[in-house]
């Protein structure tokens, strides 16, 4: 691997993550592939795998997947399988797929019908956060643990899990520090740089990832910042962004991405696992209840006002703490989970005085160009109202 450090290294790993994984594999690492932010990486790591988040590639036209998945499916997950079919994930030693949303569920299951990895597990995830859902989810985690033990022949003790929890909590904490550094104006680190780090971390052994994150923070803290020429600070809400083509486009149009509520970002790094006596309790709580993705149903209460407050009040706090000027709602076409949420979230943001831009995009860099004018217009309007 290239001997760089900090942001430069994060950028290198982001760009070459498959190659980096293959190099690590040659050095003896095993890779446990997983989909979405709902798979407890601690568990994979405790079993001796480097947890490797499977993502798509917006630069790669989807071709092979056409014979397996329909075009009305979310193109992000179609892209994931497409890369799998093209052999790009051939270094994986196993796959854990969650019932996060329909697309995550089906693609994981279709995937393992064709690729017979030595170890696979389908993790069912309840839709509610009722007490019984937590009990059930904990049982699911116990099955995952047992499956990993049986396959690897290793015993995963509570202490092993606790050790991993601490390591990943440290990682999450470091990423959150970076997020906090972006509360100031001008932010010393860009949305693009944070995304590069986030993607890198999701393919490295945890300790190596933590060292990288520490280097990045150190570097960012000592950066000399010039006053920003940016037109406004935005929060990105919605479907995941795994490619800097989008953050760069937004930044090129004069907007600073200072915070996100997406699955490769604050939903992944936002909350720690509590160190409970039985580590599965902490894991169940964190992965089921604390991650706030609209895929999880929260009680509506008796009326709409209650419901909106239950579901979205955390966004009000983000807007305030990060001094947000506008919201970009990122919707990948055919993502039902976010699609149904759009009118209400939009309403909520508008009620608290936020200008909102909603874009339904096709998860393809080739299709990004026409969006430029929309981001430019949005930047102008934000600047005018600042």
């Amino acid at each position: 691997m290239q001997k760089s450090s900090g942001l430069e290294r994060a950028s290198y790993i982001y760009t070459n993550r498959l190659q980096v994984a293959r190099e690590l594999k040659m050095q003896g690492e095993k890779f446990g592939g997983y989909l979405c932010c709902y798979v407890p990486v601690e568990m994979l790591s405790a079993a001796g795998y480097v947890p490797f988040r499977i993502i798509g590639d917006m630069n790669e036209p989807i071709t092979n997947a056409d014979a397996y998945l329909p075009s009305v499916m979310c193109p992000f997950y179609r892209s994931c399988l497409d890369l799998g079919l093209k052999g790009k994930y051939d270094f994986l030693d196993g796959l854990v797929s969650p019932h996060a949303c329909d697309a995550a569920e089906r693609v994981g299951l279709v995937w393992r019908s064709y690729f017979k990895y030595p170890f696979t597990f389908y993790l069912d995830i309840p839709h509610t956060v009722h007490a019984s859902a937590l009990v059930f989810f904990k049982q699911q985690l116990a099955h995952l643990r047992k499956g990993l033990e049986e396959y690897t022949g290793l015993k995963i003790t509570d202490n092993d899990l606790k050790k991993q929890i601490k390591l990943f909590n440290r990682q999450r904490e470091l990423v959150r520090q970076l997020y906090h550094l972006r509360k100031v104006e001008p932010p010393p680190v860009s949305g693009t740089e944070v995304l590069q780090l986030a993607v890198s971390l999701m393919g490295l052994p945890v300790q190596e990832g933590n060292l990288l994150a520490e280097e990045v923070i150190k570097e960012v803290k000592t950066r000399k910042m010039k006053p920003s020429k940016m037109k406004g600070r935005v929060l990105v809400w919605g479907c995941l962004i795994d490619n800097t083509a989008i953050t760069s486009l937004i930044e090129d149009c004069g907007l600073e991405v200072v915070m996100d509520d997406t699955a490769i970002g604050s939903r992944t790094f936002g909350h720690d696992v509590e160190l409970t006596e039985d580590p599965l309790d902490g894991l169940a709580l964190r992965y089921l209840e604390k991650i706030v993705c609209p895929r999880t149903f929260r009680e509506t209460g008796k009326n709409r006002a209650n419901d909106l407050e239950n579901r979205f009040s955390y966004l009000r706090k983000i807007v305030k703490d990060w001094h947000i000027d506008g919201i970009y709602m990122n919707l990948i076409r055919n993502c039902d989970i976010h699609g149904y949420e759009v009118p209400e979230v939009r309403y909520f943001f508008e009620e608290i005085g936020m200008p909102v831009l909603v874009i339904e995009q096709d998860y393809s860099t080739a299709a990004l160009a026409p969006l430029r004018t929309r981001f430019q217009a949005f930047a102008e309007s934000i600047e005018a109202n600042r």
């Binding site: 056409d66 014979a67 397996y68 998945l69 329909p70 075009s71 009305v72 499916m73 019932h99 949303c101 329909d102 697309a103 569920e105 089906r106 299951l109 279709v110 393992r112 019908s113 017979k116 696979t120 597990f121 389908y122 069912d124 309840p126 839709h127 509610t128 009722h130 019984s132 859902a133 009990v135 059930f136 049982q139 099955h143 499956g147 609209p294 895929r295 149903f297 009680e299 509506t300 209460g301 008796k302 009326n303 709409r304 419901d307 909106l308 919707l331 076409r333 055919n334 039902d336 989970i337 699609g339 149904y340 949420e341 759009v342 009118p343 209400e344 939009r346 309403y347 909603v358 339904e360």
Partner: protein, 450 residues
């Protein structure tokens, strides 16, 4: 031209199928009557008999917006609702039934919750709560949550765990799934008791369950009889007949009706009367049909002697629960949980045998194709229902690979009639006949039994 227009809705081959639409209208009328009489009403998702019977046992009348969507589509009145929901910011890629309902709900709200006069089938009245479901499809709860925009009513989500084929056989896993479902059902009963201010009528629930199982047993026997050559009923019959067993299985009138369905089908089997004259090809359809153009199936029967002998796994009743599984169960909630879980996982052994996933929408077809001696499949990828579309390509691959049964893919939609090109579909069909002939020979050579 007139002739063509008429043909778009299907003639249906069973007398009972021609009568089944009554049950859809009955549901709508019952809910409106309930509102007039001050009784509680809910809108419910199709939830595979998990919660509707419980709610009904507590005196709630239910109507199913998915069914209403199909109704509006079949009568070609969905478009204005779709446009209305889109103008409120819902993406046009969302489920057609959902957009129809969201548009309808917005109109209802704007009319102070008085049903607009022009509403299809007399319209759905404002509910006291919404009964969402976690099975098979995200729209089944996200859509109802989104209705909060128009209605200040609570949503209850009926949880429905989904198990992978390998995981189904993990020691303890199935029982944990069932216990979880039972706990969730208990919470649902408490929710209802709080909301309605009355106690659960447990005896009433048991009576209803008894009727449900009887109706379903008949429906299952009808399915089995459809294995006969020539097939006594076809898909267009089923799509009408499914209304009573899917939505009203615990209704005595539905049970009596299903006895008649059974008798009619049995008569045809005993007398070797096929649903279509001169059955030459036996096909299967997956998953949801073009409601607006069902006459298409009459047309291919007429042109090519194609009988659609089975279809739409999702809407069929499962095989009955084994006696062993029912033994000793005294809690009706457990019985309900077991049965619903079984609906989604009854094909787990087939999934294991063929080492495939998922169980839902996929594995059952592996059994059907053999049992119903299928020559070809018609897949109908939908623009707006992803769950019924996700696995079609996958099943197509499996069918060809494992059974040498070819598939025909014709795109369309449940609601949006603009995306279904009937002429093109018929032309594709004409060409497909040869493919089926070819594969018939291939199967023979490989020693497959049909």
């Amino acid at each position: 031209m007139e002739e063509k227009k008429k043909k778009r809705s299907s003639a249906k081959t069973l007398q009972t199928a021609r009568e089944a639409g009554y049950f859809g209208k009955k549901m709508l009328a019952n809910t409106r009557m309930a509102v007039d009489e001050g009784r509680p009403v809910a809108w419910a998702m199709v939830e595979w008999w998990l919660g509707a019977t419980i709610a009904k046992a507590m005196g709630v009348e239910l109507v199913f917006p998915e069914n209403y969507g199909a109704f509006c589509a079949a009568s070609r009145t969905a478009e204005p609702n779709l446009d209305y929901s889109e103008s409120d910011g819902f993406p046009s890629t969302l489920c057609g039934y959902a957009r129809n309902c969201l548009g309808y709900a917005r109109k209802l709200k704007e009319n102070n919750f008085v049903i607009p006069a022009e509403s299809t089938g007399g319209g759905m009245p404002k509910p006291d709560f919404l009964l969402a479901c976690g099975a098979a499809c995200d729209a089944r709860y996200k859509w109802f949550q989104a209705l909060g925009r128009y209605m200040d009513v609570p949503v209850w989500l009926l949880e429905f765990p989904q198990t992978g084929s390998k995981e189904y056989f993990l020691p303890g896993n199935k029982e944990e799934n069932i216990s979880y479902m039972v706990e969730e059902l208990r919470a649902f009963v408490s929710f209802l008791e709080d909301l309605l201010g009355r106690k659960m009528n447990w005896d009433g629930l048991e009576e209803r369950l008894d009727i449900l199982f009887k109706t379903h047993e008949l429906a299952y026997k009808v399915d089995l009889m459809r294995r006969t050559v020539p097939s006594p009923a076809v898909c267009t019959d089923f799509w009408a007949l499914m209304i009573p067993h899917l939505y009203l299985p615990d209704d005595l009138e539905a049970l009596a009706f299903y006895q008649r369905v059974y008798d009619e089908v049995k008569y045809k089997v005993d007398n070797k009367i096929g649903a279509i004259p001169n059955e030459k090809y036996r096909m299967m359809f997956s998953e949801l049909p073009p409601w607006h153009t069902l006459g298409f199936f009459d047309e291919v029967a007429e042109r090519h002697g194609v009988a659609f002998v089975f279809e739409s796994w999702n809407y069929h009743v499962p095989p009955p629960l084994l006696e062993d599984e029912k033994k000793g169960i005294t809690d009706p909630l457990e019985l309900i949980a077991r049965y619903s879980y079984h609906k989604f996982h009854h094909a787990a052994p087939a999934a294991k045998e063929y080492e495939i996933d998922p169980i839902l929408f996929t594995a059952p077809y592996l059994e059907y194709v053999r049992d119903y001696q299928v020559d070809g499949l018609m897949f109908h990828p939908l623009m707006s229902c992803r769950p019924a579309t996700y696995t079609l390509m996958h099943v197509r691959n499996l069918m060809l690979e494992r059974f040498k049964v070819p598939s025909l893919v014709i795109e369309g939609d449940i609601v949006d009639l603009r995306v279904f090109n009937e002429e093109e579909a018929l032309a594709k069909f004409d060409a497909f006949i040869e493919t089926m002939d070819y594969h018939r020979e291939l199967r023979k050579k490989e020693g497959l039994h049909w």
